[in-house]
Symmetry: C3
């Protein structure tokens, strides 16, 4: 029986929306352990939520339920769903919030097409079509509180997936930025996220990098960084490293790379091999 | 036995004040489930806390204890109290933080007079006059930590109300904004709260609206909105709807109504019936 | 067996770093009660974290585990440690985050020298040298998640200190600001922290103040305050009092002292005795 329910929303912490969802959950399962992932997703930024969720779910124990409510289309035709992976359950509107989770479980990670995506073997999903476990009346503007929160709570009590609605065989996937090879041989990625320290988290993963003994040159914001550091405290000034979520990051020792380089989300990052003759 | 204790304060999350209250509670009742409602109440804004609390308590299970510490008069003559309603207990300074709760349980909701209010049948209150359950020494500047938090914890262990002090038959109520009928027949309300999405939450409730089949015209910030939408994702641009807490809201699809309209808390919202001849 | 684990970091609440640590802890000890102290420490501000921690640990029950991750040197030679005091366990990088805790348990509090400090009797420490309880692979940039969080979780299950590594007899202590006597007899301190209300929290403790029946004059930001108030709501305009953590604070009734006086962290505060002839 899963007892941890995490929450990821764009509700902020000043309003009572998050607390209302927690009250609903605890009214159904008083033993649920509620963990906030983040409520500072930019309003309606589905991709940001998708990325954040993909960086954290693996650190939670088997069977954790992740509730992710970034839901600009609430009350329209978009479905709400449960996605079950071998390690966790995700409850979210079917609007792309689960894109990264679905792609992490697909083979051929590079192929990211928009629209509906057939679920890979090992994944199961249901659309939340049975109102038996909903709070009534359902507010047309807050399905997070009235549909998804109570479903999460009942799911945490051990109910089978199929109690909540009809099986879904494909879910919405938004195109996520992925690095590509430019015509002159550079690997071209972009800044996906800027963290609290001003570190630039890119869409380039460790295994996207060229396998070589030669040094890499990382170009961003008009600057070039030579080679990867191990950790923030060892480089000098501007440095690049593989961050704790497995993505290439650009950082400034004891400072903010974002502020120093005037770089923002979406800006370009290029990786080249150091020319042979320059040692 | 109530096990959920919620916290609402103007302490922010950067200081250690909220954590100090939680430590005190868990020292007395290690099983208490602590849920933050909001700690982003504007410093000393009693009305904002009163409104926020009124929008969320109903989503918590029977017997939840709500601790609300917005307490600019801490250490002066103002009392601290417990208010028991049929569904929950509230612990707060008696300075108006409980105004909305008290009014929700009164008959004749429109009549909102300032000052002390006799408690309606079904409500009970005590003033926290018995120091037996307080932390000592009591800091004159932090009764939230030294009086209200330990009282909440002991109350959650099942102690009777009367253990904590003398019965109070009336509590402080601040005048809350309420819509009124203007001389030309419009319903005039005001913006009570602006949420994280920039939605304008007004003081007009669904049952304040004229009962009619004719369309309503909602005027705010120099704009007029024709009719109510069901949900944020269905309107075009500017729209009005009944939000998830039961209040009329003005929103902008995929944007911020507050930023678009340059409207702030306290600004006027008017509702008129659409003239017959304009269809 | 300790079941409360508090968290203090400079990670902010927008990223998933805090949640990742919580997921790791709950995967090891699902019964742990996780309490946030603050995640709004300024990036890399070790002294701010040290001060905040010192103001709050005493309000938690015996045996609480405090995890404090402000760790600019992560992945370099700095050690991570557990410090056990008679009332609590602290897990942190050995970079000065525990300075105030160590000094609170030392005799001769005024003597604050930088560098390593021998632990006073009653304190025990181990360096986290045994990788048996770590998450693998350890990210060189996030020991909070991969070393300190799992150690906190295992420690909360009742494992002895010595399971986690080698005994340490001294820990790093940073020089904390302390008030001093100026040549003209004034007590000179500084603003250590500005809280959510704009109150100026100084480094002057109640027992640093001159023991006298004469009134004190508190000088800060070009203003002079005569005498101490009991509480925020009783003074007129600018006032000084002993705050809830035992430090001298300067406040403005119903306002922000920081904004009114244009005073910042590090600015000087002086205490003089009121001259006899001025009554």
């Amino acid at each position: 029986m899963a007892l941890i329910i995490t929450l990821t929303t764009d509700f902020g912490l000043a309003d009572s929306y998050v607390a209302a969802m927690k009250g609903v959950i605890l009214g159904i399962n008083p033993e649920a352990s509620l963990i906030d992932i983040s409520h500072s997703i930019q309003p309606r930024n589905i991709l940001q939520a998708a990325f954040l969720l993909s960086t954290v779910h693996e650190f939670f124990p088997q069977g954790t339920i992740h509730l992710a409510v970034v839901d600009p289309g609430v009350g329209t035709e978009r479905r709400a769903v449960i996605l079950r992976t071998p390690s966790a359950d995700f409850i979210a509107p079917d609007n792309g919030v689960l894109s990264c989770i679905i792609q992490q479980h697909s083979t051929g990670r590079g192929a990211s097409s928009p629209g509906q995506r057939e679920l890979a073997p090992g994944l199961e999903a249901v659309a939340l079509t049975r109102d038996k476990f909903w709070r009534t009346p359902v507010s047309p503007t807050f399905h997070g509180r009235d549909i998804m929160a109570p479903v999460a709570a009942h799911l945490s009590l051990g109910r089978p997936l199929t109690d909540f609605g009809e099986t879904a065989t494909s879910l919405s996937v938004l195109p996520m930025p992925r690095p590509f090879q430019s015509s002159d041989g550079a690997l071209v990625g972009q800044v996906l996220h800027i963290d609290n320290f001003g570190n630039l988290v890119t869409d380039i993963r460790a295994d996207d990098l060229p396998r070589t003994d030669r040094h890499l040159i990382i170009e961003v914001g008009g600057k070039a960084i030579s080679g990867l550091s191990d950790t923030y405290g060892k480089g000098e000034g501007l440095l690049a490293l593989i961050g704790s979520s497995g993505y290439l990051e650009v950082a400034v020792r004891d400072g903010s790379a974002s502020a120093s380089l005037h770089v923002d989300v979406g800006d370009r990052v290029q990786i080249r091999l150091k020319p042979m003759d320059s040692g």
